[in-house]
Structure formats: C-alpha cells, structure tokens
Symmetry: C2
Subunit: 314 residues, 2 copies
C-alpha cells in the first residue's frame, strides 16, 4: 500500500503522520495560530499542514480531522483544493471534523460513543449507518457539564462561599484557593484579567479532586455531580444513535486530561456509567489513527460524516 | 445650608445632583468610558465629573460614590485633589465605593444590609460601628449566585439539556431559546462572539422567570435556587455585621433589574428571606441620596468606609 498522510488539526497544534504498511514512518507537529473558522483560517491551516509535512514524500491519499470545520463547512472545499495543489492533483483528500477522526481512532471505526473530558466536555455517538449525535460541548458559559471548567468553577465558588460565610462552602477548598491564588479578594482580578479566564478556572479542578480524595464532602459532591453529568452526556449520545436498541456494544471510549486525575474521578465515572449500563474503555487510538482508518477502510460509518465537497476519489 | 454636590460614578454613566436645602436643584448624567481602575481612569472619571457639572455653581462640599474605587484605593488621593482643583481648594470632598453611597442612600444611613441583584449579585452589610461585610459579587465566573447571569445560564443550560436528550432539561426553555436565538447550534457563536458574553447570557433570565411563572418545573427550580442564593448572601452579610445579635432591624433593602421581573422571583425571595428572619424593603433612596447624606450627617457609620486620603475637612 502506498503511503497515507493523516492530519489532526487542532486550534493550537497541527499534527501529522505518514503511514506506510500500517506503520507511522514519519510524524511531526507544529503550532497553529487560530482555527479554520478564524479570519484567513483556511490559509493558516494550509500553511500549518505544509510546515509540518515539509520534505515528506507525496502520499497516495490524505485525510484530516480539523477542529472547527463543523462550524464552517464552506471552508472544506478551499481546504481540499489547497491540499491537492500541494500534494498533487490526483491525491485523494478526505476532510472531517476532528471529533469524527478522533471517534474513528478511539473505537477503531466501529459505531459507538466517545467522551472527551478536559477543560470542556463533549460526547459524540456515531451509529452504524453514520448518523451521529453530539451531546454537550456547548462551552463554559452554556454547558460543558462535568468538565474541568465545571469542576474548577464549582470548587472556586464553594471556596468563596466559605470565605463569605454562606452555606455549602468548603474551608478545605478555601485553603487550596489561598495556596494557589493568595487572598480571595485578589482572585477576580487574576481570573478576569487572564488571557483565557475559562482555562484559569479549569486549572482549579485538580485541587477540587485532590480535596475530594481526602474526604472533603463539598468537593466530593462536586466530583459526584461531574461524574453524573459526564455519564448523562454519554448515555444521551448512546440513546440517540440507537445502538442500545440494536444490542450494540454499550462501551464508551473516554479520553481527556480530566481523567488523568486518578480514581477520585474515574471510580465515580465508572459507577455513574454502570448505573446506565455503560462501560468505560480506553481509546484504541488517536485522531491520526482515525484519519488513517478513513482512508484505509471504506466501510466505516464515519464516511457519512465527511465534510461536503471532499471525500471523493478523483 | 450651602449647595452640596453628589456624584454616582458608574462604569458606564456618571450622574450628579446639586442639592440645596435638601432638594435637588440640578441633576445630570453623562456617559463614562471605563472605570477608575482602567488606564487613565482618574483622568477619565474627572473629565466625566467636569462634563456633567459644567456651568453649575460651586458647592460647599462634594461626595462621590465611585465604581471600582475599592479595587484601586490609591486612585482616591489624585481623584480628591483633581476635584478640589476644579471646585475650589476649600471644598470638602468625600470619596467612597459606589456600594457605600448606595448603601447609605438605600437605608437612609442606618446600619443594615443591602442586596443588589441585576446581571450580577452582591450583598453589603454595614454595622453600627462602620464595619462592613461584602458577600458574593465575585462576578459571573466565580459567583454572582442568584443573579440574572446565574438564572440565564441555568436556563440556557436546561434548554440545551433538552435539546441534547439529557435529564433535567426543559422543552419550554428550549422553545424560548429558539424564539430568542434560533436553532441551538447557532447559540455558542452568538454568545461567545458577543461584545459582552455574560450580559448576553443574563438576558435570558427574563425568559426563565416568564417560563417559571407559567409553571415549568425546571424553570421554577432555577428561580427557587436563585431566591435561596440571594437570601443566603443577605443573611451572611447580616450575620457578619452582627446586627442580628444586637437586635437591630432584620430588613434588607433590595434593588436591581432582576427584581422588576415581578412576583415570580420576589415572592420566592420574600419566602427565602422570611425563612432566615429577614424582611425585604425597597430602597429609601439612591446612591446620590447616599452621597448627600455622607456630607450632611457626620454620625452615619459609612464615614468609617471612606476612601483613604479623602474625607477630611480643609
């Protein structure tokens, strides 16, 4: 089999792998400056893709998962044309949202549900016929329930409640807040003036989970709530793609930095998933594996979710 | 009595009143561009104060409640000097946070608790000896529990839960979301790209309360939670200034746009306050009345909370 080129184009990093006979023979990554939905986004993404693969041999085909492509599907045509200009006009090019390539990689191309839990939180179900259901992922002001941001926000709020003398506060979380940020009065300035306030809030999630691990009841309830929220999102995605009724696998491939916090969250998540007849699994592979799979296997349901104006052989 | 000049310097509007023999003989307002804590903030605030009082007769004394002054107390000296340069070097000048002048106006100078509930939410207690307790007011990412933002956020999240097929959603709120913003998929773009995302979220509070008023249980629980949160903040402020133990009045002067939504919220708030032996009252006056009171009555406890380097006769 000729070499295949797989891309994972995130908002901050563009990764690529050249795959030959099933093995990655070259990999690389470059920083990105903004996503495809931004001004000059297509040109920026193409520049990053060129930079990371500079000097690599021409592939027979390329597939890319691109963050933000679902919001600007009209970018797919110019992006595919730009890639073919670079790689050769006969190159097959497939483009999809990065969630689709990540799903394909995590589950090895089979239908099912993936759950990503980091600063944000989103579940994606893809059914046997390629119908899909995205659950949550609404961002920190509208949702991302169970995410690092949700946990960090609830933890800071509970610390400030203790400081204020209100109910449902946690003196243990207040002590953590002081260790991390100094006096509470200084916190609003630190958060609201930060380059990325949502990330600043999410950074406190590790403290909340650490305090939950040593038995603080308020932090424990925040962790319980997060596990329930994540399981509810996964369960809704499973119900909407209908694999439950068809007797398909009730497994959920879970990934994201939040799950690295250890059993304080994952034990709760496993219990919340089990209560919904779901089982957590580790992802089989990453988004680069998923992009490769789209090129290698024409039977995976993810082909129904490719961006319009791409995904055709020529 | 000679004329007194009262200012209420907010982040967007600077208001002023000239008071003679207890009556406002002139009033005016001008837009502000940024607060005292911003770059060139002192110069901007002084320019706004000059603009709104241009052509007014010189007062014997002036007092100003200035938004943000608590965060940058070092601005008080330059601000007081600048005002005296404009008004005459013998003019008495008092400066305080706008919360202090608002408290003095709302309660007519007596100790007690005021509660402001608009886009944000904050309670301020001032005790008989001038000790104070500010509760919540941490902003939309860290607190403002019970605020318009908190209600709007919970309402949008419940609408999106219904859209996602998750538990605890509200189809009535989802219908309201569609009326207001179109399809849910368009909402993140509208909110996150807005000039003021927090205000955009808070604007949905009126819809949540309207849906609660017609019996939607999810919206009703959001309103219940908000009323409880606001009452808890008021109660914590009351406890911290100690008037409960001293047998002082257990009244809370409540103001803010959120309370204009009608009995759907105020009935709940009254019940939540009553459960804490507190009674809601309407403010007696506004921040301009409070600023005037600081000049007229040297016995009010608010004098202990004037900004340093101001508040001295000369």
């Amino acid at each position: 089999m000729s070499a295949l080129l797989a891309f994972d184009v995130g908002r901050t990093v563009c990764r690529a792998a050249l795959v030959s006979d099933g093995a990655r023979v070259r990999t690389g990554d470059v920083p990105c400056t903004g996503g495809v939905a931004d001004r000059d986004g297509v040109a920026r993404v193409l520049a990053a893709m060129s930079a990371v693969t500079a000097g690599w041999p021409a592939p027979a085909a390329a597939a890319a998962g691109v963050a933000g492509l679902a919001a600007v599907p009209q970018a797919a045509g110019p992006l595919a044309r730009g890639l073919r200009e670079r790689l050769g006009s006969g190159t097959r090019v497939l483009l999809a949202s990065d969630m689709v390539t990540w799903h394909a990689g995590a589950l090895g191309g089979v239908p099912g549900v993936v759950l990503a839990a980091g600063t944000g939180a989103v579940a994606l179900g893809i059914g046997a016929t390629g119908h899909s259901a995205r659950v949550d992922g609404w961002g920190h002001l509208l949702g991302d329930d169970g995410s690092g941001h949700a946990i960090g926000r609830a933890g800071l709020a509970a610390a400030l409640r203790a400081h204020d003398g209100r109910p449902d506060g946690s003196v243990a979380l207040l002590a953590r807040l002081r260790e991390r940020h100094g006096e509470p009065e200084a916190l609003p300035g630190r958060v609201y003036d930060a380059a990325d306030p949502a990330r600043e809030v999410a950074a406190f999630a590790r403290d909340v989970l650490a305090v939950a691990a040593i038995g603080d009841p308020v932090a424990g309830r925040i962790a319980d709530r997060a596990a329930t929220d994540l399981a509810e999102s996964a369960s809704a995605a499973m119900d909407r793609v209908g694999d439950a009724e068809r007797g398909g696998p009730r497994t959920v491939a879970c990934a994201g930095g939040l799950l690295d916090a250890g059993p304080v969250l994952t034990d709760r998540l496993d219990a919340a998933l089990a209560a919904r007849s779901l089982t957590r699994t580790h992802p089989l592979g990453d988004a680069l594996d998923g992009a490769r799979l789209l090129l290698e296997d024409p039977t995976v349901p993810h082909h129904a979710l490719l961006a319009p104006a791409t995904g055709v052989l020529r």
